[in-house]
């Protein structure tokens, strides 16, 4: 890959050494920008799992996730000369993959016009007029989870409850609480602000908590 003025890195703080002794992303990106395919392969190996989860959560399909991944990494390679290093490489990559997933969804006419325009019908805890929790919102089922999990009933209830979340809330919840992405990476990928990510995450958790409470309060089958 040809060296261009756009590739010149700004004066950035030294990269933190990795615990595993491997080169950091910035060093690998610089090598890949100079045409080192093996360095790009290391970046792929390092980020493919998280990118797969992002693509899978956004598209809901393993086949679509695979195509998003191929497109995203190829796109990233082609745009690598434009990467200046102001953002984390992972955040930049998530954004490329998220755009690819959104375009795929729109082609299938499954995507909302805007992540923020969906009607919101989320349940949550109930409070008295004075702002105190209603007794129905304070049943303690947290200690009963393991035995019910063994039956598989709980897994089905969780899947159903998550499916019922609005798309943009579900995606944020899965990326954060299941896949472990940071709020900043999610915000970058989904083109949201960090406060919007936190708000959706909290509301999704509250809605899921209500659903799980209903499950545990129902008589066992």
């Amino acid at each position: 890959m040809a060296d261009t003025p756009q590739m010149q890195q700004q004066a950035l703080a030294p990269e933190e050494p990795r615990a595993d002794g491997q080169p950091g992303d910035r060093e690998l990106v610089e090598r890949a920008q100079k045409g080192d395919g093996a360095a790009f392969a290391q970046l792929v190996e390092r980020h493919q799992r998280q990118l797969y989860r992002l693509a899978l959560r956004m598209t809901g399909s393993e086949a679509d996730a695979q195509e998003v991944l191929q497109e995203a990494f190829l796109n990233a390679y082609q745009k690598l000369p434009l990467f200046r290093g102001e953002a984390q490489f992972s955040s930049w990559l998530y954004r490329i993959a998220a755009n690819s997933a959104l375009m795929r969804l729109r082609r299938k006419r499954r995507a909302p016009d805007s992540l923020s325009d969906q009607a919101l019908e989320l349940s949550g805890p109930r409070f008295s007029a004075e702002g105190y929790l209603e007794p129905t919102s304070s049943s303690d089922w947290s200690q009963r989870a393991d035995e019910r999990m063994m039956s598989g009933e709980l897994g089905a209830a969780i899947n159903k409850a998550v499916e019922q979340l609005p798309d943009d809330y579900r995606t944020v919840f899965l990326l954060k609480d299941v896949d472990g992405l940071s709020n900043e990476d999610i915000a970058q990928a989904l083109d949201l602000t960090v406060p919007a990510v936190k708000s959706r995450l909290h509301r999704a958790r509250l809605a899921l908590r209500e659903k799980l409470g209903e499950f545990f309060d129902a008589p066992a089958k």
């Binding site: 395919g37 392969a41 797969y52 393993e62 991944l69 990494f73 409070f127 609480d177 995450l201």
Partner: protein, 105 residues
């Protein structure tokens, strides 16, 4: 100075940031003071935490090895110098019919 938290609703509103440790220390202290006097909110915190734990246990997923192999093979055809990993036996069958376009699972 942060006002004391009197009502459960304020406590619940702050819970997301509290369990992630991103709440301002004064707000966290006010929330903990409320919790020390409010058993329903203690239960709420427990079930809120359990929700995250249970959902993660039920829904966590990893990238299939076959997909890693096919991604590596795909990029090997498009990125100069990209080293293709040796495909496993299940991926060999997939690659026999592959073209350079995205593959179906």
């Amino acid at each position: 100075m942060t006002s004391p938290i009197e009502h459960c609703k304020e406590c619940v509103d702050l819970l997301g940031e509290y369990i992630e440790g991103t709440l301002q220390p004064e707000q966290a202290k006010a929330l903990e003071d409320h919790l020390s006097l409010c058993p329903p909110c203690i239960t709420f915190v427990r079930t809120y935490r359990a929700t995250r734990k249970l959902c993660r246990a039920a829904l966590v997923t990893d990238m299939p090895h076959e997909l890693m192999s096919s991604l590596s093979s795909f990029l090997g055809k498009h990125v100069p110098g990209f080293p293709c990993s040796k495909p496993d036996s299940s991926a060999v069958a997939m690659e026999a019919t592959a073209d350079i376009g995205p593959k179906k699972v």
